[in-house]
């Protein structure tokens, strides 16, 4: 598969902070990619660099084989959207959709209007009358309807209630199936997205930790529960990503694949196996030292 986004030693600094640190990555085309990372890990910076909002301090990035900051052919094929896109307050939603139709060649106005109906938004409403949740929904609708070949959603679900969120995910997946394109969704809440993503891009402190198929990530680790001694014994020759020892129950997360060869060992030490959700795996991989133990908060 051709890479839609390719970076070489991509670095972005502002002030004294390094948001992205020599990132080398090639992203595959026509995937639904989840960009996962903690606050301040560089997600937004990465997406904005892909969209041509920033120019790299160092290194290079190509999107559709062009530098995004100076792109020509892919004008109208890349869109970056977050819940707080600026629109003039007095404009009606209809007018804003007209602007999109003007500038994005693949924009589907009929689809957008139908989506407005689904979320109970009227085209004649003025932008200033929308609540935060509705604003997020509206910005999502606009970005999705552009059918841009590279669509970037930066935490699109801000402020949305549960019903809206569920609808959003369903619509996102369905539209991705109907009109395949590269979609990157950055979010904190991976659990809700897990079923619909095809790949995960994990970023932390400006560096890419992993970029894998979601199914692969599911099999990259497993969890064992048991008594403290049992767990410790089982883990003696394994790579432990995270462990938690308590009186009543201890568990550890082990890097490795859960397969048939492990089962007898588990029986030997009397530990129970369970799956590690990709979201938890990402959390464990991005833990910093000293965070795991909250006990000290209540110590006197």
């Amino acid at each position: 598969m051709r890479g839609v986004i390719e970076t070489k030693q991509l670095t972005y600094r502002y002030g004294r902070k390094t948001a992205l640190d020599h990132v080398n990555i090639t992203l595959n085309e026509n995937q639904l990619i989840g960009l996962i990372g903690r606050n301040g890990s560089g997600k937004t910076t990465f997406l904005k660099l892909c969209a041509g909002y920033y120019y790299p301090t160092d290194g290079e990035i190509t999107v559709f084989e062009e530098e995004p900051f100076h792109r020509i052919e892919s004008l109208g094929e890349i869109i970056y959207s977050n819940p707080n896109v600026y629109h003039k307050e007095l404009n009606t939603l209809e007018q804003i959709l007209k602007y999109f139709k003007l500038t994005y060649p693949r924009f589907d106005a009929v689809f957008a209007n139908k989506l407005l109906v689904v979320f109970a938004l009227q085209p004649t409403m003025r932008f200033k009358n929308l609540s935060q949740g509705m604003v997020s929904v509206f910005n999502f609708i606009c970005a999705l309807s552009t059918r841009a070949r590279l669509t970037l959603f930066d935490e699109p679900i801000l402020g949305m209630d549960v019903t809206s969120r569920k609808k959003i995910y369903e619509i996102l997946l369905r539209d991705y199936i109907e009109c395949p394109r590269t979609i990157i969704v950055s979010s904190h809440i991976l659990s809700e997205l897990e079923d619909i993503l095809s790949e995960i891009l994990l970023i932390d402190e400006g560096k890419i930790i992993l970029y894998k198929d979601l199914d692969e990530v599911r099999t990259m680790s497993y969890r064992i529960d048991g008594t403290e001694d049992a767990v410790k014994a089982f883990c003696s020759d394994k790579t432990v990503i995270y462990s938690n020892y308590n009186t009543m129950n201890s568990y550890a997360v082990i890097e490795g694949e859960y397969n048939d060869t492990i089962i007898p060992e588990g029986e030997k030490y009397n530990v129970a196996f369970s799956k590690v959700r990709p979201e938890d795996y990402c959390v464990y991989k991005t833990l910093r030292g000293g965070e795991a133990d909250l006990e000290c908060l209540w110590e006197r």
Binding site: G52, Y53, Y54, Y55, F69, H70, R71, I72, E73, L75, G76, E77, I78, I79, Y80, S81, V85, Y86, K88, Y99, F100, L102, T103, Y104, C142
Partner: protein, 442 residues
């Protein structure tokens, strides 16, 4: 710039135009409001208490030019924050910049077109008023060549100014990272200093400004303006190409707007509003009779106001007393009486009306002053008859074009090159035959 980029530029331009409609509307509103400053004058025309009232109206195109320049300044200061706000729509560095530049120029053209249309409409209105009410006059004649040339040259002035502004903006974004408030304060300071300098120092010695403003040949002026504009634009594009910080979050829109309004107010204190000077009679309206048979009136052509008074029963040696009404002396500035001997049988009275030149046009001539003379025995009573309550409206379509030799003496503006204000008092010359002596009675 390829087709894709050009299309994108046009799209961005369309969005910019629609989102900034308020600037156009406010400009139109302001210009139209200035147009209404003439309404008091129209009301005055129903009043008989004036002899002469002239109103110099604001020059719409000048106001339009200043408003367009201020708009460009605003959008130059706001460039980064505007880009940040509208980054959702596809653009790249180049298309952002070009659409911004095009917007500034197109805004200028639109405002100038409106100013021109408003001028034509007001010209029509005044001439209609003149038909309905004879005492309202419009001081300039309508000349299409002048209007078109003026329009075009004014646009060039505007293009030049906007190119300078765009260039300064690009320079600022590339090299200097000063906070915007400093930039605004700097502009305000320059404007104030400029007005101070104009009052106290003769700006005629400034080489840089004179390069453009004192250029008297239209062709060379066009070459200068166009080449400088193009050079500045090219430099700006180059600077912009290598600027990577074209989107900033901080929004100084409000401060910028206040600063621009401030600049507008300061510049307006040059007297861009309507001004009028009147010579007003005291409220008493005199009702006098004209002695029909003995009145000699001349025609209104100023050079030939001569009257002949037959001296039938006058014998030599007699003193003739000449009376002239006080109001007339004042209203028509008659200060000189010359008595010249001439070998004539009759007394010849030569009346030279006063001149009050505003912007090179003699306003006093609109009053059409005529001398009425009554001769009884040894008294000559002089009276100046004139149109009452003359209202003259000055509305120059394009100022600053006096710099061009092309318009000199073409009779377009009825003005002399460099001759704006002049007051010459009126004069009456008596050619007195031998043996007769005349004396003015005060």
């Amino acid at each position: 710039m390829g087709k894709v980029e050009w299309n994108n530029t046009l799209q961005l331009l369309k969005i910019r135009k629609r989102e900034s409609k308020s600037f156009l509307y406010i400009s139109i509103l302001l210009i139209v409001m200035f147009a209404f400053s003439v309404v008091p004058m129209i009301f005055n025309s129903f009043n008989d208490s004036f002899t002469l009232n002239y109103t110099v109206m604001v020059i719409y195109s000048k106001v339009g030019l200043i408003l367009s320049i201020i708009t460009s300044i605003f959008f130059t200061i706001d460039y980064q924050s505007y880009n940040y706000k509208y980054e959702i729509y596809p653009s790249n560095n180049k298309t952002n910049f070009v659409s911004y530049g095009l917007f500034c120029y197109i805004h200028l053209v639109k405002v100038q077109i409106i100013a021109l249309i408003l001028y034509v409409i007001q010209y029509g209105i005044f001439n209609l008023l003149h038909v309905l009410k004879e005492n309202i006059y419009f001081a300039y004649e309508f000349n299409i060549l002048y209007l078109l040339t003026g329009f075009f040259l004014y646009l060039l002035y505007g293009f030049l100014a906007i190119s300078v502004i765009i260039f300064i903006g690009s320079l600022n974004r590339k090299y200097i990272r000063i906070p915007k408030i400093v930039f605004i304060v700097f502009i305000v300071f320059c404007t104030i200093s400029f007005s101070y300098m104009k009052k106290h120092i003769n700006m005629a010695d400034n080489i840089v400004i004179n390069f453009i403003v004192k250029e008297s040949s239209i062709l060379i002026f066009i070459i200068k303006a166009v080449s400088i504009s193009l050079a500045l634009i090219a430099l700006s594009i180059l600077l912009n190409k290598h600027s990577y910080n074209n989107k900033k979050e901080r929004n100084h829109g409000f401060i910028t707007l206040i600063a621009c309004i401030g600049i507008f107010i300061i510049l307006n204190n040059y007297g861009y509003g309507a001004s009028s000077i009147t010579t007003m009679r005291e409220a008493v309206v005199e009702n006098y009779k004209i002695y029909a048979e003995e009145v000699y009136k001349s025609n209104s052509s100023e050079a030939k106001s001569e009257y002949q008074i037959k001296l039938n029963e006058l014998t030599s040696g007699e003193n003739i007393k000449v009376y002239l009404a006080e109001e007339d002396k004042r209203d028509f500035s008659i200060q000189q009486y010359n008595f010249s001997p001439k070998a004539n049988k009759n007394i010849i009275v030569h009346f030279i009306p006063n001149k009050n030149t505003v912007n090179g046009i003699d306003v006093a001539s609109y009053m059409n002053p005529q001398l009425a003379i009554r001769y009884i025995y040894d008294e000559i009573h002089l009276k100046v008859l004139s149109k009452k309550n003359v209202q003259v409206v000055f509305m120059e379509p394009y100022s600053m074009l006096k710099q061009f030799v092309f318009f000199k003496d073409k009779g377009v503006l009825k003005e002399f090159y460099g001759n704006r204000y002049e007051k010459i008092p009126g004069e009456i010359i008596f050619y007195v035959p031998e043996g007769v002596s005349m004396k003015i009675v005060e």
